[in-house]
């Protein structure tokens, strides 16, 4: 209940109203959100493909991680900020779409985060042992595949949200 109240309160903030009623705010923010996909999802998939041993094979895994991570963090920050802005434009509708694509997307984002944590606590911790090997250990492959599948579904769910939101 408190959450529904929070969403209601959020949608009545001047900020949310501006987001909803301005002609340009939504298209600009959405364009940034969609095009940053190239940086964030693109680089995340390239890293996953390295974990699978099928791309960037001449680079060490630790080097790929070190080089890509700053861009991934930057890209993710842009995605979260623009995504939050889009959500705040109509929080009640986002939360209540049928089917619940937005909620599904948020759950999958948490799972993608968990996948990264598990990777870092297990096979990623011993990266020095298999760093230069073009053939990567099974744990790394699992992390890579789980990550790719989740990002594919997250992108699909994100696109689907726009199909089920009520028209402004």
């Amino acid at each position: 209940m408190w959450f529904a109240n929070f969403l209601q309160w959020l949608s009545n903030t001047p900020f949310s109203i501006t987001m909803r009623e301005s002609t340009w705010a939504e298209p600009i923010v959405e364009t940034i959100h969609v095009l940053t996909l190239t940086l964030f999802v693109g680089f995340a998939v390239l890293l996953d493909l390295r974990l699978l041993g099928v791309c960037l094979r001449r680079k060490k895994v630790s080097e790929a991680l070190a080089q890509l991570n700053p861009w991934l963090f930057g890209g993710f920050a842009v995605m979260v900020v623009t995504g939050t802005l889009l959500f705040s434009g109509d929080p009640v509708s986002f939360y209540n779409t049928k089917p619940p694509f937005f909620v599904a997307k948020m759950i999958m984002l948490v799972l993608a985060g968990l996948n990264i944590v598990i990777f870092n606590l297990t096979v990623g911790r011993k990266v020095a042992d298999w760093d230069t090997n073009p053939k990567t250990p099974r744990g790394a492959k699992v992390a890579g595949i789980v990550s790719i599948v989740l990002w594919v579904l997250i992108v699909a769910a994100g696109r689907a949200i726009a199909y089920v939101l009520p028209l402004p």
Partner: protein, 174 residues
């Protein structure tokens, strides 16, 4: 003038083709193809970005440009193929309408330029011996590539805003 007539009749043909017709009249097919287009965007954009960031000296500075280019090339080509096929299918559902859409026209212009640039000058710069290239030329090539592909992306995004909102939003409304 004959070129315009040819393009327009091609648009009519696409509109009436079995795929144009089939995707247009299906609830699921359009979003399904569109998701492939978006995923292709992620990978294609990712490979183009990583190459250009390398040319600008902002990533993987320790390795050669040509090595990185060879590494990502199959993914660049594969995702470009996914983009072209899925994009053509999406286009075919409202090809005649797209013919008169200024955003679509500018996207196609940028796309043509971006593809030509990628497979000529950009390819040459990313595969050649870097000690023979001036940093200014390398930077310039990276920036031109980024501008051309950004034009494609922005044009694509604008198509949805130029067409009437009703056509894209009505798919799910009961």
């Amino acid at each position: 003038m004959w070129l315009r007539a040819l393009i327009l009749s091609f648009c009519h043909w696409c509109n009436n083709s079995f795929f144009g017709h089939g995707i247009r009249n299906s609830v699921w097919l359009f979003p399904f193809v569109e998701i492939f287009h978006l995923l292709g965007l992620g990978v294609l954009g990712g490979t183009i970005l990583i190459l250009n960031l390398r040319l600008l000296g902002l990533i993987f500075r320790n390795g050669r440009v040509s090595e990185l280019a060879r590494d990502v090339r199959p993914w660049l080509l594969g995702s470009l193929a996914v983009m072209l096929v899925s994009g053509f299918l999406l286009f075919s559902t409202e090809a005649v309408k797209m013919y008169g859409n200024w955003a679509f026209r500018s996207k196609m212009t940028f796309l043509l330029l971006a593809i030509i640039f990628t497979f000529t000058i950009h390819r040459k710069v990313t595969t050649s011996d870097e000690s023979k290239l001036s940093p200014v030329w390398r930077t310039l090539v990276a920036l031109i590539s980024l501008v051309l592909w950004a034009g494609v992306g922005l044009g694509g995004r604008a198509i949805g805003y130029v067409t009437t909102a009703a056509t894209s939003a009505s798919i799910w409304t009961p």
